[in-house]
Symmetry: C2
């Protein structure tokens, strides 16, 4: 069996693990090629430079995250058809998933690149932006569905509320990374869940 079948994916796997553990800049091409058991030349054959690697990693990561959300809320919908309860179940599943990761969540590539963005070119930054806007749209849509059934007790900006899902996750990951604790992100999500329960308590 030829190990070379998918060298590109192997590079991405190794690079992603290293980048999530210690950041993009601290990850050298040297150690990536050592891990993937290829030569430096081989690396540059697949990726023009470190920017191209970053772009590919982000694309993969975002696709995976979107697939995860799709799956999570599809499962939630199966359990309960009410849009509010679907959201609450989905968030619970998300929190559980974050908690189950023994070493804590790898940490979001989005934040990691956002804070080093001068290192990256316009393409990378745009991918980042589009991903967050995508999540805004996704959650905004879900909240609007909820608001059709439940009267919000306080007026809220729906875009901002959509962003709050991403923000709470990102913020929680920052905390857990800095504190070296394991469940801050999941706790923050659970707190956000009680927010939604309070906000959408009254059926129309």
């Amino acid at each position: 069996m030829d190990q070379r079948v998918d060298t590109r994916s192997r590079i991405l796997n190794i690079a992603e693990a290293a980048v999530l553990e210690k950041g993009f800049e601290a990850t050298s091409i040297e150690e990536i090629v050592a891990g993937a058991e290829i030569s430096r030349g081989g690396f540059f054959y697949h990726f023009k430079d470190k920017n191209a690697l970053a772009r590919a990693m982000l694309e993969r990561y975002i696709d995976a995250e979107n697939a995860l959300y799709d799956d999570l809320f599809a499962r939630a919908r199966e359990l309960n058809d009410d849009p509010l309860h679907c959201m609450l179940i989905g968030l619970k599943l998300l929190a559980e998933m974050l908690e189950e990761m023994p070493t804590g969540h790898p940490g979001c590539v989005i934040a990691s690149t956002a804070y080093q963005d001068r290192l990256f070119d316009e393409g990378v930054r745009d991918l980042n932006r589009q991903a967050i806007l995508g999540w805004r749209k996704r959650f905004r849509g879900m909240f609007e569905e909820i608001a059709q059934v439940y009267e919000p007790r306080e007026a809220v900006n729906m875009d901002a509320l959509g962003d709050m899902v991403s923000g709470v996750v990102e913020g929680g990951l920052v905390l857990q990374r800095a504190l070296r604790e394991h469940n801050n992100a999941s706790e923050q999500i659970m707190l956000f869940r009680t927010y939604l329960k309070l906000l959408f308590a009254d059926k129309k």
Copy 2:
């Protein structure tokens, strides 16, 4: 007047601006010394290495942030003695402050270092940790005061609620950095404010 009176502070000012703009790794000592109009030798006279610079920057930043919170909530307390309203006013002031910064908030050094932490030594990481734990304690105390007067409608973990202030700010800053928008952090704070209003609606 001797410009050299406080070279160390000048280095820190220039470094902080550069680091907040483009990240720690992307900021070279070369450009710092150029900006501060000193020699490379002069830089290393003041700071043993880049880690020492990072530590000094973090210390200064954390002190400034603590002073800002002290001032903000002291002003809020003057306006209203009720602990809940004091918190709500303080958060409003914080949101306004974030909004008034024309280029957006410089971005929190905490998150920036959290995601590049392998670059830094234990001292830097510990400073980071202590700062967040300090904020947890500060806000937890304030929420406990509130809970003595108002019955929370839902049971919440007070440590997690304290962390949520930091988390919402950090998360908002990540979003606004990645999206290149200007008011995400302040919007997230305002949303968190309505959370508190809903949570602590009933006086004991």
